[in-house]
């Protein structure tokens, strides 16, 4: 699974950082860095983070598969 955060929307509330610290980290006071590839054992936590994000900035999903035609 892949994740992307809409950082134009993110306001640094850091809920995601508490819910899935292995994936989301604050860099400095409020800059968010995240793992783009979500390990299987983190998917549930990222799902919770996406649900909890107050501005709904987190998207979790599959990428377009390479062989798609």
């Amino acid at each position: 699974m892949r994740t992307v955060v809409d950082l134009t929307r993110c306001q640094g509330y850091a809920q995601c950082v508490f819910l899935a610290p292995a994936v989301f980290q604050l860099h400095g006071e409020e800059g968010l860095l995240y793992a783009t590839a979500v390990p299987d054992d983190q998917v549930e936590r990222v799902r919770q983070a996406a649900a909890a994000c107050p501005v709904q900035a987190i998207l979790l999903g599959e990428e377009v598969s390479a062989g798609a035609r």
Binding site: T8, Q11, A35, T36, A37, R69
Partner: protein
Amino acid sequence: MPGDDLKDGRIVIVGASLAGLRGAEALREEGFTGSLTVVGDEPYPPYDRPPLSKQVLLGQAPADTTGLPMRRDPDADWRLGVRATGVDPLGKRVVLDDGESLPFDRLLITTGTRARPWPNPEEAALDGVFTLRTRDDAGGLAKRLAAGPERVLVIGGGFTGSEIASACRERGLEVTVAERGPAPLVGALGGTLSKLAAVMQRNHGVDLRCGVTVTALRGDGNGRFTGADLSDGGRIDADVCVVALGAVRNVEWLAESGLAAGPRGIACDAGCRAFNMYGIVTDDVFVAGDVSRFPHPLFGYQMLSLEHWGNAVAQAEVAAHNMVSPGPLRRPHLTLPTFWSTQFGLNIKSVGVPTFSDHVVIAQGSLEARRLAMVYGYQGRVTAAVTVDMAKSLDYYRHLIEAAAPFPPPPGAADRAIAADIAIPSDVPDPKGLSHGPTVALTGYLPDRRLTVVQPTG
């Protein structure tokens, strides 16, 4: 329902990146049931670029893991690794470099931009010289940084160049930034914040050289980059060089198409419909993302060219809606430009168009605290705001811009800065004197100002 036939037929999207993917998804969300083909010249499925200068260069994410998650499967035919070479607007076909041509009823163009190359091709080909736009660029550069070079030279102090320098310092690498203008980020943020950017770079150990141009890249005779000559007579010894001179719009393939496509992008109306070269709007060719230029009512209907992630998403959604909706149900793309950048531990966010300004005030916080909200005004009206580590304030200023609030803005925030009513000139320079392009460019003309997209520097 009138317009139901628009929900069927053949739609082709050229450009398989952020705007192309979000456009494809939105078409299905809007009820399009016809055939959808997405053509992309990169061999990879759509991936996200902002992490390439951040997580990837920091070594926190491999370059091949930034694939964009889908919101929904757009059930499209993906033609990846295939370049579109032309459009026949009368026969309504997209011509591909593999000899095929794709018929369409409606076309969405999302071909974005590419990195402006170093002007001397021989020097650009030296081993160790990079640009940063694609996944392969980032993978190659990250590998070099991991190998621990003695010094990295970054040419251009725009957002991308500054983020690269920040990543280098965080990895403990020596880095020199050469910028032709007076300070980093000055083309996007104006004089005052560019001073903060310069201080941040120097405090973090960047060897920042402003007011100089790189005149030549040097090799060791075996094709390996060894350093560069500067216009002030100086010389930088380095083993990696990143050319960050801004972006070039991918429009060459449209040269024969009759569309209004030029160095500043493809002109379209507020509903994302492309203009042809006579300024007549087409009704079957739509544009979205970095390759577009579009009029915005809050900025005097000037044509904006944005290189912003958020704009690519929002504009693709509007384009998709309008592609499947009859005239009266179409929507304008009125989203305010919004941008973010993280560098040197700071979170910089902007809303509106900072270059569309004559004065600024620091409304909250201070430069010394490295935490502030700066508000930009043009002729007595709020036109933009930039926050540094104050993202939560940004929405407030967004409302002021949308409401065309008077500038300087009235007291609003509890932590209002002491000099919040003292406006100083915004000091936005002529882009021609910079190594980096502003990431928001006004490409129209106001009678008393000259602000256009930066031209090739060299």
